[in-house]
């Protein structure tokens, strides 16, 4: 009897053109607190964040019209960072800077090349850091998401 053929799993290797985003479900599944991280590590004072009286917000992608549901705090964060200059890049660690850059882009996915330009590091450094087995601050690659 012939052996059954097992299809090889499709491995997706991130490239410089692979897009990355902050996967908020990573924060929800981890025992880390996003609010505490932002206020302590990124030095964002509570007073700088706008008050929002809704729990969830629908963010509309300006290119595709696609909607992403985020909680109120995530929305406030994105709004805050999208209004900031890029100065925070110089005052934070590399991974924190990438986190801020993605937030400043309203967490719309960005390629390693695009991130590299914003944080002033080589694209291969960005790619190696964000594609490794360790997920930093919920930053993950997106495959075939369109």
């Amino acid at each position: 009897m012939p052996r059954p053929k097992i299809a090889a799993p499709k491995l997706q290797v991130p490239t410089a053109d692979t897009r990355f985003h902050i996967d908020y479900s990573w924060w929800e599944e981890s025992n880390l607190d996003l609010e505490a991280y932002v206020i302590s590590r990124l030095n964002v004072g509570q007073e700088n964040l706008i008050e929002l009286d809704v729990e969830q917000v629908d963010i509309i992608d300006p290119d595709t019209g696609e909607v992403r549901l985020v909680n109120g705090f995530q929305y406030v964060l994105q709004t805050y960072f999208s209004q900031q200059e890029d100065d925070f890049i110089n005052t934070t660690s590399f991974v924190d800077a990438v986190f801020c850059v993605l937030l400043a882009n309203a967490n719309r996915p960005m390629t390693a090349n695009q991130i590299a330009k914003r944080v002033g590091r080589p694209a291969d450094v960005v790619l190696k850091t964000l594609s490794g087995p360790t997920v930093y601050q919920g930053i993950r690659p997106l495959f075939d998401e369109d």
Binding site: V57, D58, T64, G65, E66
Partner: protein
């Protein structure tokens, strides 16, 4: 934003493959026009076909679906096309209320796309890029310029296309010109014999394919382009014929009527590779190597309208010019190993037919001209762009036969000797390179004897007698290079590396060298 896939780099460069449908289009096109086509023309067909294919596919998709726009309202069950998601199709499964402080209230459509649920905004009152046009999505294709796509992505597509067609038996090609086998005109052995006779009558050639074709009595109903391609193809496969035109032209010559020096390189021009340690060559020696510009030096070809070279003994003797870095770009080389050119001596208004022998890096056919003009070793020859691609101007600095002190080599008792003598020289020359001789036969014998000697031994034979001409008992690197090449073809790199490496050769500054007899081990 509506952007067809056929307008993206990912489509034409990253993911591009030639499909059976593309090949069918190309095949049908060639059958229809019955004229060979270039790779670029065939790529144009692929671009046009792919753009039309995408347009038709989208039109078909759109026939029963609506185009998604965030400003519109939709109902459960509506089938939508998403222009910003590569025109993916989806079905509205549910609708819920949506909100954000910036856009206010709107609908959120829950849409199933390829089995996956995704959400999209609807009834949006704020501006959105997808609301900007109400045109039918296929109208975008009317604005696509295929020539522009070809200019942008053609290179990658042509490379893939070439590879694909080359692997298929149905297609034949000559360089970048393609045709289908089924349409090839039958060129029989009689036609080939006749072609040979025609070329023989014209002293071997060169004749263009059209000039040969008129003698072949082909069926006048056949398309000339098809006959031309088929004849070129048959001649190329036949050893008797050599294609000798510069790049992008075709002309034929009978191989057996070409000069021997075109078929086989003269012995004195053949460089048998000598291994050396590249690290021994410092920046100063590298500059000197660039200045000498030997055809066997590994220098990048310079794109210039004027090329220059200094003649060394082997080239002066064989009537050749080195195809060095400064000369190469003036001879646009085709795919054939030999090309026929015409050099025009501007002053004498004399036309000289020459052969470019690409593989062995020389231009042959100047022996008589060197002799009649009295061109010495060390003379500077200039080649400049001419009236046509295969016609160039030839020049040198003309002087009134002045008497000059020049180095002359001779052979006595099996040893090479050098002396200074006054000779009439009527051409400008490099004083460090000039080394003449009246003893060609004796030097020939010595050349053969030297063939088994090491390079160090060769230098040890040439350097001491050459140094005797100088009160300091030293020899300049350029003079040594010129003199060594009277006994063996040696480019400057291995020669200079050996001078640096061997302790018997002492650098005394300003590119001069001295032979130290005490340090010579007699190898």
């Amino acid at each position: 934003m509506i952007r067809p896939q056929t307008q993206t780099k990912e489509y034409w460069v990253d993911d591009f493959q030639i499909t059976e449908a593309d090949v069918e289009q190309i095949y049908n096109h060639l059958l229809e026009v019955e004229v060979p086509q270039t790779t670029q023309q065939l790529a144009h067909i692929v671009f046009t076909h792919r753009v039309n294919e995408e347009r038709n596919r989208l039109a078909q998709k759109m026939s029963s679906r609506k185009m998604y726009q965030p400003k519109n309202s939709y109902e459960v069950g509506d089938e939508l096309i998403f222009p910003a998601l590569k025109f993916k199709a989806g079905v509205v499964k549910a609708i819920r209320d949506g909100y954000n402080p910036q856009d206010g209230q709107f609908d959120v459509l829950q849409v199933e796309i390829n089995g996956k649920e995704r959400e999209f905004a609807a009834t949006l009152t704020q501006e959105h890029v997808l609301n900007l046009t109400d045109n039918h999505p296929t109208e975008v294709f009317d604005e696509i310029d295929v020539d522009e796509l070809l200019a942008q992505f053609g290179e990658a597509v042509m490379a893939t296309l070439y590879e694909k067609l080359d692997s298929m038996e149905d297609f034949v090609h000559l360089a970048q010109l393609w045709y289908v086998k089924a349409l090839m005109v039958d060129i029989n052995i009689g036609h080939l014999h006749l072609s040979e006779a025609v070329l023989e009558m014209h002293e071997g050639g060169a004749l263009s394919t059209d000039e040969i074709m008129v003698h072949l009595d082909m069926d006048p109903r056949l398309k000339p382009a098809a006959v031309r391609f088929s004849l070129d193809y048959a001649l190329l496969k036949d050893e008797r014929f050599d294609e000798v035109a510069p790049a992008e032209e075709i002309a034929w010559f009978l191989r057996r009527m070409q000069p021997d020096e075109v078929q086989t390189p003269p012995e004195k021009l053949v460089y048998e590779k000598i291994h050396y340690d590249n690290a021994l060559l410092g920046p100063h020696l590298r500059l000197l190597i660039q200045e000498l510009d030997d055809e066997w030096s590994d220098l990048t070809a310079l794109k210039r309208d004027v090329g220059k070279c200094h003649l060394i003994y082997p080239h002066r003797l064989e009537g050749t010019l080195p195809l060095n870095a400064r000369m190469r770009s003036l001879f646009p080389l085709g795919t054939s190993p030999h090309q026929q050119y015409t050099l025009i001596d501007r002053k004498a208004d004399e036309k000289i037919p020459v052969w470019v022998v690409q593989e062995h890096r020389y231009v042959y056919g100047l022996r008589d001209w060197y002799k009649s003009e009295g061109i010495p070793i060390g003379a500077e020859i200039t080649i400049s762009k001419g009236p046509k691609a295969d016609t160039l101007y030839l020049d040198y600095e003309r002087r009134k036969g002045q008497k000059e002190w020049v180095r002359l080599a001779s052979v006595a008792d099996g040893q090479i000797k050098f002396e200074h003598k006054r000779r009439s020289v009527s051409a400008g020359f490099d004083d460090l390179l000039i080394v003449g001789t009246d003893f060609i036969a004796a030097l020939d014998m010595m050349w053969r004897k030297m063939s088994t000697r090491t390079l160090a031994k060769l230098i040890a034979i040439v350097l001491p007698p050459l140094a005797e001409l100088n009160p300091q008992n030293t020899v300049h690197s350029k003079t040594l290079y010129s003199a060594i090449n009277m006994l063996r073809r040696v480019p400057p790199e291995p020669l200079f590396a050996e001078l640096v490496r061997h302790p018997a050769f002492e650098a005394v500054g300003d590119d001069y060298w001295r032979f130290n007899h005490q340090r010579w081990q007699g190898e």
